[in-house]
């Protein structure tokens, strides 16, 4: 059984599903509204939504006809919490290193 993060990452490993999430970041939407900008069938969109829902990335309303989808930011936060410890951790630390070196240099000049 894959862990939660793996399920979330494989759900994110698809450009259409990421575009759907970007759409839902602006607010909730129905399947029809989500399908509009894409050149794919409603059943295909529904399959993508099912994957996103299983991964906990979106939730859907209960009404059978009108099932608006909304973004569930918690799953993305887990991804973010995992990722920031890699490249960003170091590149931003090195930005601060640069600033600190400039500060040390300025201090040296004042002496």
């Amino acid at each position: 059984m894959p862990d939660t993060l793996s399920v979330t990452l494989s759900a994110l490993a698809d450009p259409t599903r990421r575009a759907i999430l970007a759409r839902l970041a602006k607010g909730e939407a129905t399947v029809n509204e989500i399908a509009k900008p894409f050149d794919i069938s409603l059943p295909a969109v529904s399959r993508h939504l099912k994957v996103l829902e299983t991964a906990g990335l979106i939730s859907r309303g209960r009404e059978a006809q009108w099932r608006p989808c909304r973004l569930e930011p918690r799953a993305l936060k887990r991804v973010d919490d995992w990722l920031w410890r890699y490249r960003r951790f170091w590149t931003e630390s090195f930005d601060r290193m640069d600033a600190y070196l400039a500060e040390l240099k300025a201090k040296e000049k004042r002496k």
């Binding site: 970041a25 930011p73 919490d81 890699y86 630390s93 640069d98 070196l101």
Partner: protein, 156 residues
């Protein structure tokens, strides 16, 4: 170092306007490390360094959004002002916890400036490597930025 990087390796080369000896001190002295370790919006209130081969270091960075984050490791190689090799592991819970990585940093001084080459790779066994999703390459940076953006928009 091989010309091709594996997906789970990180290579960051940067030139700093400082001599190699100063950069080396920034990595090896707690009072310096406290001032730069950690991404934007973080502070590094705790650093303990036993700077010798086989010696350990341990540090904590914190931010209002991400709380306390401990990490540490052991020095494997020390060549003053030139080269530094140490293990690096996050203490926190979650998927990145307990994955031991090896960091190799080299310093090359030229005309008062220093090129710092930072290399990090995981010590994963084959099983773990096969199940490791994706890597630390540019696709992940984009995903990281995307995830951070959405997490931020929705925590506002």
């Amino acid at each position: 170092m091989s010309a091709r990087l594996a997906d789970d390796e990180l290579l960051i080369t940067r030139t700093f306007d400082a001599p190699a000896s100063l950069l080396f001190a920034l990595w090896s002295k707690p009072e310096h490390m406290r001032r730069w370790m950690g991404p934007a919006n973080f502070t590094c209130p705790e650093v303990e360094i036993d700077f010798r081969v086989g010696g350990a270091y341990r540090a904590m960075i914190k931010s209002p959004a991400r709380g306390d984050n401990w990490f540490g490791g052991v020095y494997r190689e020390i060549v003053e002002n030139k080269r530094l090799v140490f293990t690096f592991t996050w203490d926190n819970d979650g998927p990145s916890a307990g994955v031991e990585t090896l960091v190799t940093i080299t310093f090359e001084e030229k005309g008062g400036k220093t090129v710092q080459t930072f290399h990090q790779r995981p010590f994963l066994n084959v099983e773990r490597r096969d199940s490791h999703m994706g890597g630390w390459t540019s696709a992940f940076d984009k995903l990281a930025a995307y995830a951070a953006q959405i997490a931020k928009e929705h925590s506002a």
